[in-house]
């Protein structure tokens, strides 16, 4: 009776699992991640937990966005930079008065007819006080970079 369930040709030992579809599965995963994620822009030296909001809009053109990060330096940097909120532009800690230079450099890097559509995304930790944010906004106004976006994540009820 047992021979009824045995495969023909082979005798006794169990057959291995067919892995022919494994690459397909992995490729599917790969494509999912390629589509749904974005390249990491730069290493953050500060902690940024953006606040929640409900009325958020998606930023349209990634290439026209420049970023300003504000927050407490991460643990490993606190020895040198203290624990007061700091501004990070590109890969370095910067002062408020260096923002116009940064904006000018960002503007210079873009195509001329795209410059009016440039947006500055403010990624600011929610525990930061408004004083430093107000200073940044004033500098942005001076630099005539008026389109801004307060980065925030969708509030989950």
């Amino acid at each position: 009776m047992a021979s009824k369930f045995q495969r023909k040709g082979k005798s006794g030992d169990t057959p291995g699992i067919n892995t022919a579809s494994l690459p397909d599965i992995v490729f599917m995963l790969l494509f999912f991640f390629m589509v749904s994620t974005t390249m990491r822009e730069q290493e953050l030296k500060i902690q940024v937990r953006v606040p929640d909001a409900t009325e958020i809009q998606k930023l349209e053109k990634k290439s026209l966005v420049s970023y300003i990060y504000v927050g407490e330096p991460k643990r490993s940097y606190q020895r040198f930079f203290g624990s007061e909120p700091r501004i990070q532009l590109n890969d370095a800690f910067k002062q408020v008065k260096e923002i116009p230079d940064y904006v000018a450099a960002e503007r210079e890097a873009r195509d001329e007819n795209e410059r009016p559509f440039m947006t500055t995304s403010l990624k600011i930790d929610y525990e930061v006080k408004m004083g430093i944010v107000t200073d940044i906004k004033q500098e942005l106004r001076k630099a005539n970079a008026l389109k801004i976006n307060y980065s925030s994540k969708q509030k989950t009820e």
Binding site: P23, F33, I124, R141, S152
Partner: protein
């Protein structure tokens, strides 16, 4: 016969290659898409220019103050963030034609002319047809302005909460108008002219005052 004639390519390592790629992408990319509250900063005031805010009548102004303890003062009375949206909506729409709430100004709703291009004979802006037929003497546009002021000690979290509530109030009013006019939600409108018209009918007027210390 043990040996077959047409041998297949060994695809056993395909999975390994794909895994390698997958792990590479997992490490180098991030999930977070960029979203947030889009705002427009006012241009830097020119010297010797008279302050615009002084010209606005008191009834047309909703002053929202946030102090350093994150508490709200709206037109002189203390308020919780949860009530701010309804207060703002009432302020902008002024449904009861209250004397103390903003005036309405009848305006013809103008939208961008799709036929216009630089150098053409066409006018740059044209009136919106549906608004024109339903409101022959113009749609009543609120003159209300919201002035948001905060202290240097206000937390960013509270500031965004308040901004969010103000934008939510505008969005809800736009939604209501959009449902009335086009039987569609504002963010589901497909025609660019319709979106333009709604924006013109309920303009978002949130002014962020020059920074100053409000104290506690």
């Amino acid at each position: 016969m043990a040996r077959q004639n047409n041998q297949e390519i060994n695809a056993g390592s395909m999975a390994d290659i794909a895994f390698l790629l997958l792990i590479f992408f997992l490490v180098t990319t991030t999930m977070d898409t960029d979203k947030g509250l889009a705002r427009q900063l006012p241009p830097m005031p020119e010297d010797e220019q008279p302050d615009e805010d002084n010209k606005i009548k008191e009834r047309n102004l909703l002053v929202v103050l946030i102090n350093k303890n994150d508490r709200l003062l709206v037109n002189g009375e203390e308020m919780y963030v949860d009530n701010l949206k309804d207060k703002t909506k009432e302020f902008i729409a002024n449904p009861a034609q209250d004397e103390n709430l903003p005036q309405m100004e009848r305006k013809v709703i103008m939208i961008k002319n799709p036929d216009y291009y630089p150098g053409s004979e066409e006018p740059k802006k044209i009136p919106h047809k549906l608004f024109e037929s339903r409101y022959p003497d113009g749609y009543p546009v609120s003159k209300g302005v919201i002035s948001l002021q905060n202290d240097r000690g206000t937390s960013y979290k509270r500031y965004i909460e308040v901004q969010n509530e103000l934008v939510a109030a505008y969005n809800e009013l736009r939604n209501e108008l959009s449902m009335r006019m086009f039987q569609k939600r504002y963010n589901e409108l497909t025609d660019e002219g319709d979106v333009d018209a709604i924006r013109a009918a309920i303009p978002q007027r949130i002014s962020e005052a020059e920074p100053k210390n409000i104290g506690d």
